[in-house]
Symmetry: C2
Subunit: 389 residues, 2 copies
């Protein structure tokens, strides 16, 4: 046990990375029981009316596919919390975490983990103000993020109105495909390192959330962390409206489609070699099958952390203009902010994927192609206890 670092050793390493001493805080938790934040440091840019809070846990066995670096594990621990704040349109200002560290965890591991947390939190404009560590069977990180808002800008899940357009940022299903790659189902080598970051370094739509909140045009918002279907049903249940989603409009990443197509093509060729194919698949059939697989990931697999929001239809062009200006400003801004290739997530587009309908019994999914029809969307999504609910 002589090589076992103590709690104080770990805290020292964390403190060096987070540099508590240089922060606009009265006292970091390196030195005291609590971290203290002076409120006057926030009132410059925003009329401080409400504080927002979210807490979320990530764990080795359930959240970190094998091969993830400690930097990425730290990044993810911060990002999943920041995404919750983004979904309310709030501005993150501070982050605390409690890290359960397993036997064999080194001070070098702790440094990498802290660097991941620090980079994510500071990228999105907040500060790490405190941490706590204890021994644990497996790496477990519970983060708590604190944000500030003007009351009128807080966007809840319950505001969707009939005829609202249902919109989503970025692409859907990419994290699910990246997970298949890392788990070996489609082969990690088939996906680029940058693509796998869709899963391993989730990108929180913090800036987009703030922009949407300030626009005054958004009626309801949620993130897609547990899959699109789960999020749409949440908006539906709390707003008392239903939705019709157009499968054809779901925003799918070109690389995700290519990865799945290549995988299906390889399988097809393998089957031909083994003479197991009764009928060979055409390229068109492969493309359709890949699309179908990706849509399934988009609807029912978690990990995408995009924003799902509703707007009145007459606000569409206004929101389009906002995103255009945002992306024009973003290119340079985010390049300079990040040392980690995060600007690759920009430009951020948004897509109208359906609309709210007043009366129905379910959320409806409009299929395309041969089996074109309207069907109830399955109420499936990631659940930590049952995996699928």
């Amino acid at each position: 046990m002589s090589d076992q670092p103590t709690e104080k050793d770990f805290i020292r390493v964390f403190s060096d990375v987070f540099q508590f001493k240089n922060k606009p805080i009265l006292s970091g938790s390196e030195f005291d029981d609590c971290a203290a934040l002076r409120l006057d440091s926030f009132s410059k840019n925003i009329s401080l009316e409400s504080l927002t809070f979210s807490t979320d846990t990530v764990r080795e066995s359930s959240d970190f596919p094998s091969g993830m670096t400690f930097f990425q594990k730290g990044w993810m621990a911060a990002a999943v919390n920041l995404s919750d704040l983004a979904a309310m349109g709030s501005k993150p200002v501070a982050f605390l975490f409690s890290a359960g560290l397993p036997a064999g965890f080194t001070l070098e591991n702790a440094k990498d983990l802290a660097r991941g947390i620090q980079e994510c939190v500071s990228f999105f404009g907040a500060e790490v103000i405190g941490g706590d560590t204890e021994f644990c069977d497996e790496l477990t990180i519970t983060g708590t993020v604190i944000g500030i808002s003007e009351n009128k800008n807080l966007i809840l899940r319950k505001g969707a109105k009939p005829d609202d357009l249902l919109c989503v940022t970025g692409f859907l299903g990419s994290a699910g495909v990246a997970l298949s790659g890392l788990l070996g189902q489609i082969g990690e080598a088939n996906a680029s390192a940058e693509f796998l970051k869709n899963l391993t370094e989730p990108f929180s739509r913090v800036f987009e959330g703030e922009m949407l909140a300030k626009s005054g045009a958004v009626n309801s918002m949620i993130d897609t962390s547990d899959g699109l279907a789960s999020s749409v049903y949440e908006l539906s249940a709390l707003s008392g409206v239903f939705f019709e989603i157009d499968e054809q409009r779901l925003p799918l990443d070109a690389e995700a489609l290519e990865i799945l197509s290549d995988h299906l093509k390889n399988q097809n060729e393998q089957n031909e070699k083994n003479e197991q194919n009764e009928t060979e698949m055409t390229d068109e059939q492969i493309a359709a099958a890949a699309r179908s697989l990706l849509i399934h990931e988009a609807l029912y697999t978690g990990g995408d952390y995009e924003l799902l929001f509703t707007i009145p239809s007459d606000k569409l062009s206004f929101i389009e203009e906002l995103f255009q200006k945002f992306n024009e400003g973003a290119a340079g801004r985010f390049d300079s902010l990040s040392s980690n290739g995060k600007s690759g997530r920009y430009p951020c587009k948004f897509t109208v994927i359906g609309k709210a309908i007043a009366e129905n019994e379910n959320v409806i999914l409009r299929h395309t192609g041969l089996n074109s029809q309207r069907q109830p969307l399955m109420k499936l999504g990631y659940d930590s206890f049952t995996k699928y609910i």
Copy 2:
């Protein structure tokens, strides 16, 4: 798996207990990604200048001796966090938690756990504003507490000055004795149910911390959660002073002494029956041995959650008066607040156990009795990674 409650089932049970709907918050995390707190709800009684935060984790295998109820586990998860806020003299206003629940955890268990959290948080004047659950190998609860303060009232660890009196609230070593009882070393039956609560329902000195902060007479403060020696060395390292502690003055609970005396007496009698005793212990020797054991618990075992603070010597009578008034007011106030026998922790006395000295090489412990001498205090205390540092 059909009986396995889902995440939503657990959140529903939590929400019923915490009654998010009735809280002075804009939105509880039952319904949204975040909890939102309106700041104007706090500015009535206090000039709101700083926010304080602390986060801490408790786990089945390391923090819950067998026999603890789920109510007690919930209480403890809240209390350990509240104690950190108390040590800074801050007023708690809100609590969030992330609960990792193991296989077989029922909705009834969840309800009891939530009731424990709720009772502790509301007893100390704060609100549960959010929670999150996920599946975990063992019950794991990470709490985050948010407090408010006026800047001038925040008490840090680093303010101790030479000649300050070193004071502590309540009794020391009781949690360690209760742990021995629950672990079977002295036999659970030998301790009263109320006494075991020293360990299983730790009582945070939140009100005392606020009072001390407002007094303007306290130079430094910390809680004793990792044992007295560990806390004294923290004050010493950050304040740049040393301390001399008088062993004779350590506040020891009469029941703790009695439990240890009875245990030693039983052992002694057992040894006599087995004719293993060379010399029979006298009652006086037993009393001295019990006292010595309890002092060891007080110095080096965690779990007491008392406040350790320093004051200039000319402020002693002022602080004595404050505590007297506090206890006079407390009796009725705390009876009505608690349904759980917590008023048994009052009246709360405080004890001067030593003083700060400018120049030395160690914290000094002045022994009493036959081996009366001054010795360096061992730098031992609870550490989650090494158990003893």
